[in-house]
Symmetry: C2
Subunit: 446 residues, 2 copies
């Protein structure tokens, strides 16, 4: 781990490194083939990567027969390979899978259902294939609608992988600086802003507005992941975003709520994480769990902003909003409703927090527990002092938990936060399994 940078853990933390491993990649085993095929762009979990073969519910099965409890992957959010989603996808794929330039009943039914989960002023939906495409489009709409170029982001934000959204994703940079039109501010943590997070965060946004104005860009948008996933998971106190959103609106900018990670009920108390802040986004982007693994994403947006944008270029996306995407997305919405997954995220999330708190009471290295529903962030501090963050212990614990058959990842500026986001169909017995594995792993890393 010593060769790794202290910041930007998302892409690097705990990844397989061909040079470090000392393995001979000239062979014909799976890892060698992967390295040859994907080259420098290969990103794998764990120093000794896992070959997976199947998955169901909250569990994934490796080629060696080991079953892993998945507390990492927030895409298969209603459960791996959910039979209702799979069957909706298969049925539609056999019937019709075509672009959205023809009318289709299921597509509009899906859009109607999806729109109903948002506040009324968010009139229009544009579907895309990925969260990256969604955020890319959201930024362009914001810039067109405001006539300004500047974007405000948090310092470990991740908003995707296109050129434009990589520019606003500090956590994606291995080196180099953000471009001139992007200003980053600290995430809304106690460490950064003390006890009055709302005022502190709004003040930071205000300073960023001034800086962007001084640089001649103006402010097009404040964009934040509604639960600050890659910054380390910051959800409380409820409503802390209101002041910051008011600042950006006063400055003529729009507010983009990036729900790609927290959306679709993961926070338990609402379908979208921004709702806990009682704010009114001008654009909301969504993605990952939207098709439970089928590539689909999108934005919901004020009609006037979209209309202005479409005067210049319009937008068409070949694969998006197909009957196949719609049928799959509709099945995901059905399962969330029919299996009461929001309620389960609340109940199981509470039970999980209690277990974590119980561990924290006995082990001072568990220095903070944050989050909502089934999206939690747990800080680990080797010294027991929360204001001295370090990713070292988290890296060790992640690998220890893999041996305990639990998959989990890291977040935060120093990689000091365990990022917990199991499928929303989680059971109490699975929480028990996780807590026991976490306790053992902490002891092992003592």
């Amino acid at each position: 781990m010593s060769k790794m940078p202290t910041v930007r853990p998302i892409l690097d933390m705990n990844a397989y490194d061909g040079q470090m491993s000392g393995k001979n990649d000239q062979g014909n085993d799976l890892l060698a083939r992967r390295t040859r095929n994907v080259g420098a762009a290969s990103v794998l979990f764990y120093r000794d990567p896992i070959e997976m073969v199947s998955a169901s519910g909250c569990w994934m099965t490796a080629a060696d027969g080991t079953n892993y409890l998945d507390f990492y992957n927030n895409v298969p959010s209603v459960g791996h390979c959910h039979p209702k989603v799979v069957s909706a996808m298969a049925d539609q794929a056999a019937r019709l899978n075509i672009n959205s330039r023809y009318l289709h009943q299921t597509t509009e039914t899906y859009l109607d259902r999806l729109k109903a989960t948002f506040p009324d002023h968010l009139d229009n939906i544009v579907l895309t294939c990925s969260g990256s495409e969604a955020n890319d489009l959201a930024l362009r709409i914001a810039q067109r609608g405001t006539g300004a170029r500047g974007i405000i982001v948090t310092e470990c934000a991740y908003h995707g992988n296109t050129a434009t959204v990589t520019d606003i994703s500090p956590s994606a940079l291995k080196r180099g600086e953000l471009p001139d039109h992007v200003v980053s501010i600290p995430a809304p943590s106690k460490l950064a802003y003390g006890d009055n997070i709302a005022a502190g965060f709004a003040d930071a946004v205000n300073k960023a507005v001034t800086l962007l104005s001084d640089r001649g860009h103006g402010v097009a948008a404040l964009i934040v992941d509604s639960i600050f996933s890659s910054d380390g998971v910051f959800s409380n106190p409820r409503g802390f975003l209101r002041l910051a959103v008011a600042v950006v609106h006063r400055a003529g900018g729009v507010f983009i709520a990036d729900e790609v990670q927290p959306g679709f009920g993961r926070t338990g108390d609402a379908f979208w994480a921004f709702l806990r802040h009682d704010v009114i986004p001008d654009i909301v982007s969504m993605g990952k769990p939207m098709g439970n693994g089928f590539p689909m994403a999108g934005i919901v947006v004020r009609a006037d902003l979209l209309a202005a944008f479409c005067e210049d270029v319009g937008y068409f996306n070949t694969f998006a909003a197909s009957p196949l995407a719609a049928a799959t997305g509709l099945a995901v919405l059905d399962v969330i409703r029919d299996e009461n997954l929001l309620a389960n995220a609340m109940v199981c999330g509470k039970y999980l927090r209690e277990g974590l708190q119980h561990l924290a009471d006995r082990d001072g290295r568990v220095s903070d527990i944050r989050g909502a529903g089934l999206f939690l962030g747990v800080d680990l501090s080797p010294s027991g002092e929360p204001d001295k963050p370090s990713g070292q212990l988290v890296g060790d614990v992640i690998n220890a938990m893999r041996r305990q058959r639990v998959l989990i990842g890291a977040a935060g500026k120093y990689g000091q936060t365990l990022k917990i986001r199991p499928p929303l169909c989680l059971k109490r017995s699975e929480v028990d399994f996780f807590i026991e594995a976490f306790g053992k792993s902490l002891r092992e890393c003592g």
Copy 2:
């Protein structure tokens, strides 16, 4: 049609226009719901859009029971809802659908198979969800690898919908200019370059190189659709691209072959359309037919270029290269091989050209027939004079052919080209159906 601009037909030609239609969009019919849901971003075929319900082979079925022969959609390239592709997708979706940070046999098998279709020097593959993401990444790799920023494109090029690739897609612009670092040149047509297309096109690239150099950008890449799809389909003479590619290489730039539209065997004589020119691309992008409608795309790239790029930011794509994408893509490769679709594209393409030539012999308005395999472009000139292009007749013919139950679209600077690209499983009887419908439509528009 009179309100439409004469250039950039792709997004506008023949589209549903809510204002023009005079329909009441306050109702609850499908079109009204669509307009409410998608707003200004709604793009629909035909002045009176079609509601589709199912499709199989080369045919699509509308809600009113009408069967349409699909000569437009190049995504379901091995045939609509091909049972082997559908079943591979369904089986994998039921077993495992997860991101590529775990190893998976099918994923590497697919990448091995895909890589084998390319020249040896194209070492690495990076999968994405869409052709837009693929071209976005290709541009960034080109700019990083060359240290230059300038991009050379053709004047009606379309390379996708992200901010970065919209910048290099003249056909996507409803108004405004290309940015300073993008220079467009005329497509390789006789109209633009006379009889020596190779020399003329290379000379235009050379002038663009000088212009980009004068502007201080240098040249990062020449990027062209290998068959110039949206420019109007230009495929001959074989090898005409070689000189232009040599020019850009000498200037220090890379050559990106955009195979999103012509790739995967559509040209019949080879798996990739750039092969007919005997050129060596540094990056090839691919997409549309790759998953027969499942959202997948990607690039194949020189390992050194990818490695340089990954020093700065790396690349990870949540949905791409999943076991689901790999299993689906693999089934597409299997079907192309097992059903001899390249050979069929050659044979049926030849038969189709003969039918078109027969029509041209009797009707001077059919002024040029171009293309390869099952990707053809047919110019219609109301006056019978090929050097006086007009989209008017093509627009009328497209609507007449819809009444004859054939779906077809337009391309070219003035929308003067019928763009013909049926599924590769096309049968001779379906060619006959098309030719008869085309003949009738021409007479109807006489």
